[in-house]
Symmetry: C2
Subunit: 313 residues, 2 copies
């Protein structure tokens, strides 16, 4: 038991990131049923669809689960209303400012965590009354900070800056990395990439397969002139990198990106022209497992790593 | 005692990186005298100057010390001859191919470590008969890999790929990060940035001061079209970033870089026009200390972090 497990009422401080297009009710419920914290990824759902996922999740688990919302998402107001109406108890917000929605949520008794890429943003979370901060390093998949601070450098900085519970994200797929993050000052970990490659994730099977095949250097932080996002290297990503190398403007990059690329890739399975968001740690993911097995496996690896320290150091 | 301390005959598996312009005999001897492994940075020294540093280091410490050589350095042949002539016992090579000089050195009974940014290069080191591999992540200062793999993702990959002793580098300034690296599979750590800000480092005092002032996001991996190098953001770095944003060619970047920028910045103290190589972990460095105190402090922090695990987990 630590502050993170107590805050969310979970058994293990292992949180499944609410990745867009990959994190529906099946994944969230499987993680929560295994004793971790599952999150429904609202960023790729209409408010109506989100409501359906929340209802299914409630049917499937009696354990705490949450919803992740990118605050720059266009339907954020209706989405927040759905969350309030359906009595969701835990919300992870990302992107945008933590003071925008925190009091709305906290007034309803909802626990709020906010994702940040740097210590100064963590301080803003604390000031806004956020319950826990997720510090996400450069190695993480999807949207990422401009400072490019890696998890190893980020966690100690956030730890010395804020007092609220700290969850580490970015580059963590297993129990050893979990212990490493805890040693640096985290009290819990959030895994995205590892759960993309789970049985229950709604990622297209071809995308899951690509994650397994991903080698070192198989991802890149791209689109920095728009909003930095870590992508699996594919045809679309090569086109982005080619444009960027030639000094393309944000407008040119926007035109190439267009609309709906992420869904096309991660959900519909267009491995050439889709936008495939994944973390560097894909190079460490070796198998597609049921999400509950992932939770138990990570926790057992963590315990074994602790035992090794006790025995050898 | 572990394989790294045994290999080098040192007390603590704490290695000072052989940073160019910052790592003369005073720093190397101070680190070695404190029980770590000090390295003279030959990359910014003529062979004649290197010989003088080796002689002074031998006078100042009876403990093992080594020399770091970037293999793409133009005087590498004469430098290797100086090392052989002076009976240096430990050499760290970086850049270039590990099979180029390893047998030359090992034939003379010299222990060889090679610095790599990825697991596939680590495998080449092992095949070349290198004694230990230094795996250096994206957050490290100075020259860096194209894959941009962070230390957190890199160490487990290298650990599962090679059997030889593994030293982690990049983002490590203290004992907690040291333990985190050990948990991930490292058997020792190499610190560069922290030792730049030591009393004995030959970095210009203004550069040391800039390191202390460095905030999150205060460094950037730049010059990727030449050879990627992590720089402290200053006027020169802003010029590089401006050129890169416009899609400059390698030739244009080379012309801007010119010759001798690193010495001008780090050694001579031109904080505007110099090239200032430093790691992301500069944001965690808070004081300039004697190098021996740094070794002892890091080791004691490591021991305290181990005790915490034993007590709390």
């Amino acid at each position: 038991m630590n502050r993170v497990t107590k805050l969310f009422g979970i058994d293990y401080p292992i949180i499944q990131a609410g990745m867009i297009w990959c994190s529906g009710w099946e994944l969230a419920a499987a993680v929560s049923n295994a004793g971790g914290l599952g999150l429904i990824g609202a960023g790729s759902m209409s408010p109506v669809l989100l409501r359906a996922h929340i209802l299914k999740c409630k049917e499937t688990t009696d354990r705490p689960f949450g919803v992740n919302i990118p605050l720059l998402y266009p339907c954020v107001e209706q989405t927040m209303q759905v969350i309030a109406d359906e009595g969701v108890k835990i919300v992870f917000t990302s992107g945008g400012k933590p003071d925008l929605w925190t009091s709305f949520l906290k007034d309803k008794g909802i626990k709020v965590a906010h994702v940040v890429p740097g210590a100064k943003y963590a301080a803003k979370c604390e000031a806004a009354g956020v319950d826990a901060v997720v510090a996400e390093g450069f190695e993480a998949g999807g949207h990422n900070g401009r400072e490019e601070t890696t998890t190893l450098c980020l966690i100690p900085r956030v730890r010395e800056t804020v007092k609220i519970p700290l969850i580490a994200a970015g580059g963590i797929t297993g129990g050893r990395a979990m212990l490493a993050a805890m040693v640096l000052g985290a009290e819990g970990v959030q895994l995205g990439t590892r759960f993309v490659a789970s049985l229950e994730s709604t990622a297209h099977i071809d995308f899951k397969q690509k994650v397994l095949e991903c080698a070192e250097g198989g991802t890149v932080l791209a689109l920095k002139k728009l909003a930095p996002v870590r992508l699996l290297k594919n045809k679309f990503c090569a086109e982005v990198m080619e444009l960027e190398s030639r000094g393309a403007t944000p407008e040119e990059l926007s035109a190439l990106l267009g609309k709906g690329r992420a869904g096309k890739g991660m959900f519909e399975g267009d491995m050439e022209n889709g936008e495939l968001e994944i973390g560097q740690a894909a190079s460490l993911v070796k198998e597609i497992l049921p999400a509950g097995d992932i939770v138990r496996k990570v926790w057992n690896e963590y315990l074994r790593a602790v035992e090794e320290i006790k025995r050898n150091c």
